[in-house]
């Protein structure tokens, strides 16, 4: 029985993560989407540790401590990956262009011409929203009419993605030939 709880603990943790994130953001929108995601992740992590730890104590003696420790590690790794998926699912709804285009088509009754679609969601809005987010989070700063890097976090992620593209696709951008 303890093994079943240990194996299922990442799913229980994800459920707790989603519930806390939604409740926090709905209850206090001022907290912001990102902080609500961090809180949800932390709550789920605590849940996994409690369930996996309890499963370990119930089965103590049945398995060597090293095996039990690896089982907890596997549960935590599985939860971390599920939490990462949830984080990105929330962010897809917030930032993904493909999702926004689908929404626009859905709201228009399912069909739009190219011009109508571009008028509803175009480069101006895409750039405007993103620069506002980058300025709002301090990743980019505006001084005397010029943009500068404010914090190296997003720049480091961008460089990492370019490196991964070069390893996998042998090019640094989808627009390169």
């Amino acid at each position: 029985m303890a093994e079943w709880f240990s194996a299922l603990s990442p799913v229980l943790g994800l459920a707790l993560n989603v519930a806390v994130q939604v409740a926090t953001f709905r209850g206090r929108p001022a907290i912001g989407l990102l902080r609500s995601e961090y809180l949800g992740f932390a709550a789920g992590l605590a849940g996994v540790m409690v369930v996996a730890g309890a499963a370990r104590s119930v089965s103590s003696g049945a398995a060597p401590p090293v095996d039990a420790a690896f089982r907890v590690l596997l549960s935590l790794g599985c939860y971390a990956a599920l939490g990462y998926c949830h984080f990105h699912f929330v962010n897809l709804g917030e930032t993904a262009r493909r999702i926004r285009l689908l929404r626009e088509l859905h709201e228009a009754g399912g069909a739009l011409s190219h011009g109508e679609l571009a008028a509803r969601y175009g480069a101006g809005e895409i750039v405007g929203k993103r620069i506002a987010r980058l300025l709002g989070t301090g990743q980019v700063v505006l001084r005397e009419g010029r943009y500068h890097i404010g914090s190296p976090l997003v720049l480091t992620i961008a460089r990492g993605m370019v490196a991964l593209k070069k390893v996998l696709l042998k090019k640094g951008s989808e627009h390169e030939r």
Binding site: A7, L8, F89, L112, S113, I131, H148, M161
Partner: protein, 173 residues
């Protein structure tokens, strides 16, 4: 310990197959191919698990292999596969935010003038490739000069509309 070793080994093997396959030829539908490789490797690992457990006692997996062991390995590999699939979408497609940050960084210590920032950020670069993705993935189709949602596209749109409603959030994008 055995479940951990098998899980980590399965993910590493799948990633190695993925790298080798991409060196030979990058597939047209990349995400689908990534999923096929990772889940194919998982299925192979699960089929071989009783043999591995019996022939490699150091793994300390009981024989017959208990169901929770299968569940732990499947859960971990599935979660990591989905996490990688999401990350891979940023490899396949340029994120506008990351492109902007790289452009600012390339401008050097003097910074990038606001007036130059919008240059090159056109619908052709930011919107049209994503419309082509939706067509390729069967989420929309082009008919009589109109883009129309397919049933798959409607399901995807509703999923996110409901989730955003649950959060009490706006349109996004």
């Amino acid at each position: 310990m055995g479940e951990f070793v098998i899980s980590a080994g399965t993910v590493l093997a799948a990633f190695a197959i993925h790298l080798v396959a991409w060196r030979v030829r990058v597939p047209e539908r990349q995400t689908r191919a990534v999923l096929a490789i990772f889940f194919g490797t998982l299925a192979t690992a699960l089929l071989l698990l009783p043999v591995l457990a019996a022939s490699w006692p150091a793994l300390r997996i009981p024989v017959p292999v208990p169901m929770p062991s299968y569940l732990s390995i499947s859960g971990f590999v599935t979660a990591v596969t989905l996490a990688y699939m999401i990350t891979y979408s940023a490899v396949e497609v340029d994120s506008p935010s990351l492109v902007m940050v790289l452009a600012i960084d390339r401008a050097g210590p003097g910074g990038l003038p606001e007036s130059e920032f919008d240059q090159g950020m056109s619908d052709a670069l930011l919107v049209e490739p994503r419309i082509r993705d939706l067509l390729r993935d069967g989420l929309i189709r082009e008919e009589d000069g109109l883009y129309r949602l397919t049933p798959k596209g409607v399901r995807m749109a509703r999923l996110f509309i409901r989730h955003r409603w649950l959060l009490g959030a706006g349109k996004g994008g």
